[in-house]
Each structure stands twice: as structure tokens, then as C-alpha cells.
């Protein structure tokens, strides 16, 4: 297998409802990524595009070829990845494998979504399509509902009283907004308090509005290249050190593990093994904080903290800059926004810029190894990427 480099990266500002289509948003990010790579669209050999819901948001399926054409990469093979919120992470992993195998030298991976455009009722309905339509949706499950079920399980299983857990979860959100306020590309650039979270309206007990990420519009893209090609184009190569992906059946089928998500443990193990690294080697993480409780579950599933103890770590400031493991310095899904098809490669965008030292006041000094974690549905897809500074 060849070594693979992330060359250029691009992302749009993430936002609420706006006027651009998913293809337009993707194209903005993709063109930035290609320009930053010192390449032209004709140099791209294949496109791997994440998009989950444009069929419903725009009446647009099968947009990947249109996206390639729109950016000037005419005629290249283009595939769409639908892995719910992990769509562009799955796209990224396949793009990596095609370059690592030697089949392609330079490819583009990314994604876009216009979820905010749908409005809350339709977005809630279509996001719920990532649960089991026959054995879960009839009961009226929603995505906040899934994580609300997990929050109660977490509280009981790990004996963290709900009142304390909710304060820990609120602190997760406060941290995300703190960094989002320092990221010009974030949807929310406003700091909030624990009281703001605890006084917001109830979405699905025990999750309140500020425990939940927003519906968002946005695009992101990255150029991947073989080491040989990359060396001619950059003196700051960020290597893909490890990737992992795993799946699971519906939430009910995961009963032996919940509130842990077994697919995360499998994917993380793959990525650590490929990289020859472990949780202690990771300097900065972008992880899947679709809901505040999801952050605690992810921190434990990735091996950073013991089960039931991640909330204490958040209370102590371990997950902020200067702490043991800074996370979601982009603002995370909560404050940066969560245009689901764009989220995975937007996490890669942030980690690449952290490793390059380009993040200004939210920079982790001396970061050499970073990790992304993207969850699709209620564990049906889980992708991890470990990136390493190459200079």
C-alpha cells in the first residue's frame, strides 16, 4: 500500500438555510481545495462525494457527475456516498484506498448538504430515515430521540445521576460554542452558558435545544494524492496514517453494548492499528458531537477516557486547549454546524489545518497527530481517520 497525503482542503462557511444548492456548495469547497493543492480540475482522476438527503431537500439525486462537471473535472468517474452523517468520511476512506492501492494518483473527496433548507419537520423526518424504518420509525423515533434513549441508559448504567450528567452535557455545548465563536466558518459564533443550555426548550427528554446540533447547509472537500505526487506539490504533507470503518444493525440489535457504539470501537481499533498509534498519541480530535451526550460516548469509545468518566474530564477542562485532549476546536457539529454530507471531510479540514498550525487562537501548539470520528445514523456507520504531520 502506498502512503497517501491530504494536499489541499476547502470548506464553505456552514450556515442555516441559504440559496445555494449542494452542488454549488460542494464546488466552492472543491475549487478551494484544488487551488490550495496547486492543481487544476483536469488533474483530478476521480470524485468521491458524500450526500445524504438532497433527494428530499432539492429533488436532486445522482448529483456527483454534475458536481464533477461543474468544477471542470469533466468525464471522471464520480460516486456518491450515502452513509447518513458519515457520508463524506466513507467517501474519504474509499478515496484513500484507491490512491493507496496505486489505481489513482490524485482524487477529490468531499460532500455537501442543504439540510437547513428542509426546515425542522421535514429535516427531522428525513434524518429519522437513517433509523430502521420498519422496526423503529413506527414508534416515532427521531435522531434526538435516539440519543435521548442513550442518555438515560448512560446515566443508569454508569451511575451518573441525571442532574449531574446534564450539567456535564451542558458544559460540552458551552465548550463547542466557545470555539465556534472563534471559527469564522462556524454557523454559530456566539458563546453561551450552562444556564442557557439548561433553560432551552425540551426536544426529546432529557435533550434540550442546546444539547442538539443544528440543521445546516454547507460543503467541504479535500484533495488526496500519492506521496510521490504530493512531494512535488507541497513541502507540508499531511499523511493519512490510519483509517477505519465499521457497521452495525439497528439500535435494538446493539443491545449488548449500548450506550457504547460497538461500530466505533471496531473502526477506532482499525485506525489505531493501521497508524501504529494509540489514544495517548493523539494531540487533537474532531469527534461526532451531534448531541452533547454523543460527545461523552465518543470520548469513551475512542479510548480516551473510561466508560462513564468522560463527563468528569469535560468538567475538569481536559477537552479544551491546554487540557489532556482538546476536541472539536472547530466548534464541532454543535457550533460549526452539521450539513451531514459535508461533515466528515470538514472534520478532516480542521485537523489538517491544526497540523499545519493555521488555526489562530484555537490552535493546539505543536499538534502532530490528529483524529476524526464520524457517526452515521445510530451506529450503522462509523468512520475514523488518523492524520499525521509529515514535516
Amino acid at each position: 500500500m502506498r502512503k497517501v497525503v491530504v494536499l489541499g482542503v476547502g470548506m464553505t462557511k456552514f450556515s442555516g438555510k441559504q440559496d445555494k444548492t449542494a452542488v454549488e456548495l460542494f464546488a466552492e469547497a472543491a475549487t478551494d481545495a484544488i487551488n490550495e493543492s496547486n492543481l487544476k480540475p483536469k488533474d483530478i482522476q476521480a470524485l468521491f462525494m458524500g450526500n445524504a438527503l438532497s433527494d428530499f431537500a432539492e429533488g436532486q439525486a445522482h448529483m456527483q457527475g454534475f458536481a464533477a462537471d461543474y468544477i471542470g473535472a469533466k468525464g471522471i468517474p464520480a460516486n456518491r456516498y450515502e452513509n447518513a452523517c458519515a457520508s463524506s468520511s466513507a467517501a474519504f476512506r474509499d478515496a484513500f484506498m484507491w490512491v493507496a492501492s496505486g489505481f489513482y494518483d490524485i482524487v477529490l473527496a468531499g460532500g455537501a448538504e442543504t439540510a437547513a433548507k428542509m426546515g425542522t419537520p421535514l429535516a427531522t423526518r428525513t434524518f429519522a430515515m437513517a433509523s430502521d424504518s420498519r422496526y423503529e420509525y413506527p414508534a416515532g423515533i427521531t435522531f434526538p430521540g435516539v440519543f435521548a434513549l442513550l442518555a438515560h441508559l448512560y446515566s443508569k448504567k454508569y451511575n451518573v445521576p441525571l442532574e449531574r450528567l446534564k450539567k456535564q452535557m451542558a458544559q460540552v455545548t458551552v465548550n463547542s460554542h466557545y470555539y465556534g465563536a472563534r471559527n469564522p466558518k462556524a454557523q454559530f459564533q456566539k458563546e453561551i452558558t450552562v444556564d442557557d443550555v439548561l433553560n432551552s426548550f425540551m426536544v426529546c427528554q432529557p435533550l434540550q435545544l442546546y444539547d442538539c446540533c443544528p440543521f445546516s447547509d454547507g460543503g467541504s472537500a479535500v484533495v488526496l494524492a500519492s506521496e510521490d505526487k504530493a512531494k512535488k506539490l507541497t513541502n507540508k504533507p499531511v499523511f493519512v496514517a490510519g483509517v477505519g470503518q465499521a457497521s452495525a444493525g439497528n439500535l435494538l440489535s446493539q443491545k449488548e453494548y449500548l450506550p457504547r457504539l460497538r461500530s466505533r470501537e471496531l473502526a477506532a481499533e482499525q485506525s489505531y492499528k493501521m497508524a501504529g498509534l494509540g489514544p495517548k498519541d493523539i494531540d487533537v480530535v474532531e469527534l461526532h458531537d451531534c448531541f452533547s451526550i454523543a460527545t461523552l460516548i465518543a470520548l469513551e469509545g475512542l479510548g480516551f477516557f473510561e466508560n462513564g468518566r468522560a463527563g468528569e474530564a469535560v468538567e475538569k477542562g481536559d477537552t479544551k486547549i491546554g487540557g489532556k485532549l482538546p476536541i472539536n476546536l472547530s466548534g464541532g457539529l454543535k457550533a460549526k454546524g452539521h450539513p451531514i454530507g459535508a461533515t466528515g471531510t470538514a472534520q478532516v479540514y480542521e485537523i489538517v489545518r491544526q497540523l499545519r498550525g493555521e488555526c489562530g487562537e484555537r490552535q493546539v501548539e505543536g499538534a502532530r497527530v490528529g483524529m476524526t470520528d464520524t457517526l452515521g445514523g445510530d451506529g450503522g456507520t462509523l468512520c475514523n481517520v488518523i492524520l499525521k504531520k509529515g514535516w
Partner: protein, 136 residues
Amino acid sequence: MEHKLSFKQYNEALKQNKLLGLKCKQCSAVTVPPRIACSQCASTDLEVVELSGKGKIQTFTSVFVPPEGRESECPYVIVIAELDEGPWIMGNLTGIDPNKVTMDIMGEKVKMAHAVFPGDKYSAGDEARPLFSLES
């Protein structure tokens, strides 16, 4: 290979308050909702069995922000129950105020009836789900 228990058969039975599952002839595990292979050992040597519909609440939520088309049901309580036979199943809980339900119901025994989601423009027809109530 034929299904021992299809969604359609499961759904029609549930509409009669009968909860059907699959018992594995190799490892004795009970699989529900149905699959083509045993959820524990992946054997396809399965037989259809009727389950008690009784179990204990493992977790719950009250939904206050509904998906499109479910507004009139809101607020509602979703529970996951562990059936006496082992598997976990998702349904609604009736006879309790969604605004007042607390973690105290976790572990409580429930019995099962059913309710039908009539389907919407995205779904493939109607779909029944368990409607639980507290036993005590």
C-alpha cells in the same frame, strides 16, 4: 432463500397483538425483529415462535419535536423494552404523562398491545409497533 418470518407476516401478527420472533434451532437464541439469520450465531435454521410481549423498560424518552406527519401524536413516550425472551424492542408507552415521566420507570415491567403507524408518503405502507403499558 425464503424468509421464515417476513416483515409482512410479523406486521400482520402484531396487528392482532401477537408478537412473533424466530428461535434458533442451533443456539436457542430468540431473534426479533425478524432477520434471515439468527442474531447471535447467523444460522438460518430458525423457527417462528410467539413471544410473550412482556418485558422490562430499559430506557425511554419523551418526544416534543416530531417529524413531519407525526405532529398530532406529540408529545409521546418511546421506550425500549427487554423482552422476557431476551431481545430488545422499540415501542411507545401509554398510560403515562409524557411531561412527567422520569427515569424511575426504567426497569419497570410492561405488557404489550399495539398501535399502527398508517404510513406516510415516504413509507412502504402501514407499520405496527408495540404499545406498552406498565404492568402494575
